[in-house]
């Protein structure tokens, strides 16, 4: 079934793609419409992956977290866009000039609890999911730093009962989290990356064949695929040849990576084989998200576009295939965060630099 191509808001011409190549199959085109945005007091910082979403038990209520600079803001909103509550969190004061900046806020969903993790120029702060209580603080180790290096933590993911956090040096810290209480322990330090970590993704191990469940990405575009556990095991390395990889996702043994040159590449996690290459955006990608139940991938970039892709595994070849589902133009906005709001991908939220509201879209 073919539907109209996109619901781009304004000025998006039906681009003339001269000479179609091969075949274009009938795509699964989902239609999304814009919902009431959630207003904010100030605009988000132009950082990677600058939005985290946590659906709450109360029907229709969603919680959002994003970074402004020295503060992170948590807001919960009802479907009609009206903010229900909001809270601001600051960096824990450390030694040094100026106000330390927060680089990322992310909710880690673990088997028995949900924790909110903030990374900053000073270290890692872990809170209860509503941000009310800080349960753990880890200060960054600056001993190996040269004066020209910027120090910060960045890149957060949860795998089982582990929380992985990346740092400026390329080191990835693995924390072991108990089912409750503040006794979080630094379990391991992974020293493979040589460039600052940008993003980390994880997914539950998919049966016996699929062992890869964590992927780390850095500023040089290098991807490392790991098997999590008491001792993390490095399975594959996939080079990026110098182009930063700001955002990465993992789905059914496939790594989806968004790059600073606007490309999305999808690799087989265990072998590193390239399966899909998409010339997706005209500027650097800043955010990727996955709706695991539907195999939908969301990409947001500085070109002001958000795209939704459908991933599927070809039953004959076993390789990952991709179709384009939806294009959304967030007029005059450099997208800095984009997340699905539910596991099926029937709604998503977007943040942008200089935009004082969280935009929301849902399927019609």
């Amino acid at each position: 079934m073919r539907g109209p191509t996109s619901r781009a808001r304004r000025g998006a011409a039906a681009g003339g793609t001269a000479g179609r190549t091969s075949r274009t199959s009938a795509p699964d085109r989902s239609m999304y419409r814009r919902e009431r945005p959630v207003p904010m007091r100030s605009c988000p910082a132009a950082l990677y992956n600058n939005l985290s979403v946590l659906p709450l038990p109360a029907p229709g209520l969603t919680q959002f977290a994003l970074v402004h600079g020295p503060t992170a803001q948590l807001l919960s909103a009802a479907p009609d866009g009206l903010p229900v509550s909001q809270r601001q969190l600051h960096t824990k004061d450390g030694a040094g000039p100026g106000f330390p900046l927060i680089t990322q806020a992310y909710w880690c969903v673990l088997p028995f609890r949900v924790l909110l993790v903030l990374t900053s120029q000073r270290g890692i702060q872990i809170y209860e999911s509503d941000g009310s209580v800080m349960v753990y603080w880890h200060a960054l180790d600056s001993t190996d730093a040269s004066p020209v290096q910027a120090l910060f933590a960045r890149g957060i993911a949860a795998s089982g009962h582990y929380i992985c956090v990346g740092t400026w040096s390329g080191r990835v810290l693995v924390f072991d989290v108990p089912a409750k209480g503040p006794n979080i322990v630094l379990s391991e330090e992974l020293d493979v990356h040589q460039a600052p970590i940008t993003d980390i993704a994880a997914e539950p191990a998919q049966g016996q064949d699929c062992v890869a469940d964590v992927v780390t990405a850095d500023d040089s575009g290098l991807l490392c695929v790991w098997k999590s556990g008491p001792e993390f095991k490095l399975l594959t390395r996939i080079s990026g040849f110098g182009t930063p990889c700001p955002s990465v996702q993992l789905w059914q043994g496939s790594v989806a990576a968004g790059y600073g040159d606007g490309q999305i590449r999808i690799y087989e996690a265990s072998s590193g084989a390239l399966h899909v290459q998409i010339n997706a955006h005209a500027r650097g990608i800043c955010a990727l998200d996955l709706a695991p139940e539907a195999g939908k991938l969301l990409s947001g970039a500085e070109d002001s576009f958000v795209h939704i892709w459908k991933l599927s595994r070809n039953p004959h070849s076993g390789c990952i295939e991709v179709e384009h589902c939806h294009a959304e133009c967030v007029t005059d906005t450099q997208v800095c965060g984009a997340r699905f709001c539910d596991l099926r991908g029937s709604s998503f939220a977007v943040t942008g630099y200089d935009l004082a509201e969280i935009l929301r879209y849902s399927c019609v």
């Binding site: 996109s6 000025g11 998006a12 011409a13 039906a14 681009g15 793609t17 179609r20 091969s22 075949r23 199959s25 795509p27 007091r41 100030s42 605009c43 402004h68 601001q88 600051h90 004061d93 030694a95 000039p97 680089t103 020209v148 910027a150 460039a195 600052p196 500023d219 110098g242 182009t243 930063p244 040159d261 087989e268 072998s271 084989a273 390239l274 399966h275 899909v276 290459q277 998409i278 010339n279 997706a280 005209a282 500027r283 070109d303 002001s304 576009f305 070849s317 076993g318 390789c319 990952i320 991709v322 384009h324 294009a327 133009c329 007029t331 005059d332 450099q334 630099y353 200089d354 004082a356």
Partner: protein
């Protein structure tokens, strides 16, 4: 966050400042033989430009600038430009200085936002430096200073990886966050919307190294392409034709950073109204109203390197007005919203015995925001730092 951002911020903002001042000086230009004592002539204009550029590119000053350090606040930076603007016979009233700073910052914000690749920030910087060299083409000594800096930039930034440039860009955008001042020339050219946000085009050439969006290629496990599909991405992009030159001279290709003002286009700013829910909490308020001790130290170090020429003898300072009339300037000063006030600090880093007394007086004049666990290694005492220079 990136500790290499300050030189790029300073030089690009400085470049914009020179474009604006040059335009205003030309607009107020009067032929030498007809000039009254208080009117600007061509000779005066060249002298002002030479004085400003020679101060900006002072070796000692740039040494301090290029040291790896975090970016300071808009307030601190504004103080440096205020001092710089007065390193000549030119005088600016606070209202004109405010307007100048608004224009400079919004122009550079626009350039950073529209910069195709993070690395292209260097091309924007080179455009500014090329223009600055042109301003002083009749003064070989100052040209040399600028060329030295040019070479230094190529040395420091030329080989940085893409990730580092992106960090620099993110740091710059943090500096410009929440600035939405509307500029007439931008509104007229339709590069800025009436809400103060810039227009981001979704057509034109893609950045060098990026492919035009629209193609999906799928491969099998042997690496052979098995399927190819196109999709409608919504924009109208074309291939990039060439990469700009990162050498000392060459075609930069990018026009961002070139002079957009001309004598016939008066520059106006309309100061945007207060944000709806702009009530900052106490911590942010303290930050907004005071300069941290570190910023004071930074200012002292920077301005210690600035050689300020004293206007000696009967020579008057010439007043430059950035508005069309004196009444407009007065009105602007009275109606500037509270939260956009820069509250300039007048620090005179004069290099004589009065220096210490002056600094003590200044220290007493405003609140110092103490950082709790202040390390003692860098010398907290402002006076001690000045003595070390």
């Amino acid at each position: 966050m990136s500790v290499r951002t300050l030189p790029l911020l300073f030089l690009n903002l400085g470049g914009e400042m020179l474009y604006i001042l040059d335009q205003r000086l030309r607009a107020q230009n009067v032929p030498t033989d007809k000039a009254r004592k208080d009117e600007w002539t061509e000779v005066d204009r060249k002298r002002v430009m030479n004085d400003l550029i020679s101060t900006m590119f002072n070796k000692k000053f740039l040494e301090e600038l290029f040291k790896p350090q975090e970016l300071y606040s808009k307030k601190a930076l504004r103080t440096v430009y205020d001092r710089l603007a007065h390193a000549s016979i030119m005088r600016l009233n606070p209202a004109s200085m405010d307007k100048l700073f608004d224009l400079m910052t919004m122009a550079f914000k626009y350039q950073v936002l529209l910069c195709p690749r993070p690395k292209d920030i260097l091309l924007i910087t080179f455009n500014h430096l090329d223009a600055i060299k042109n301003f002083v083409r009749d003064s070989p000594d100052i040209m040399n200073q600028v060329d030295e800096t040019f070479r230094h930039i190529i040395e420091v930034y030329g080989c940085l990886p893409a990730g580092e440039f992106q960090l620099i860009r993110q740091t710059l955008l943090l500096f410009f966050q929440d600035m939405h001042i509307r500029v007439s020339i931008f509104l007229k050219d339709k590069v800025q919307n009436s809400n103060g946000r810039f227009v981001l085009p979704i057509s034109g050439p893609v950045p060098w190294g990026t492919k035009v969006p629209g193609l999906i290629r799928m491969f099998n496990n042997k690496g052979e392409e098995v399927k190819r599909m196109e999709f409608k991405h919504g924009g109208q992009y074309v291939r990039a034709e060439s990469e700009g030159s990162f050498e000392l001279s060459g075609d930069r290709v990018l026009t961002l950073g070139t002079n957009m003002y001309s004598a016939s286009r008066p520059v106006e700013t309309r100061v945007s109204g207060a944000l709806k829910n702009s009530s900052l909490n106490t911590k942010d308020n303290i930050a907004a109203r005071t300069l941290a001790k570190e910023e004071l130290n930074f200012l002292a170090r920077l301005m210690g390197g600035m050689e300020i020429k004293k206007t000696s003898g009967p020579e008057p300072g010439f007043r430059l007005n950035l508005f069309t009339t004196d009444e407009e300037e007065e009105h602007a000063a009275l109606t500037r919203p509270e939260e956009l006030s820069y509250q300039v600090i007048n620090i005179q880093a004069a290099q004589d015995q009065q220096r210490n007394e002056e600094l003590t007086r200044i220290m007493g004049e405003f609140e110092i925001h103490d950082q709790p666990q202040q390390s003692t290694s860098k010398g907290d005492d402002l006076l001690a730092m000045m003595d070390e220079l």
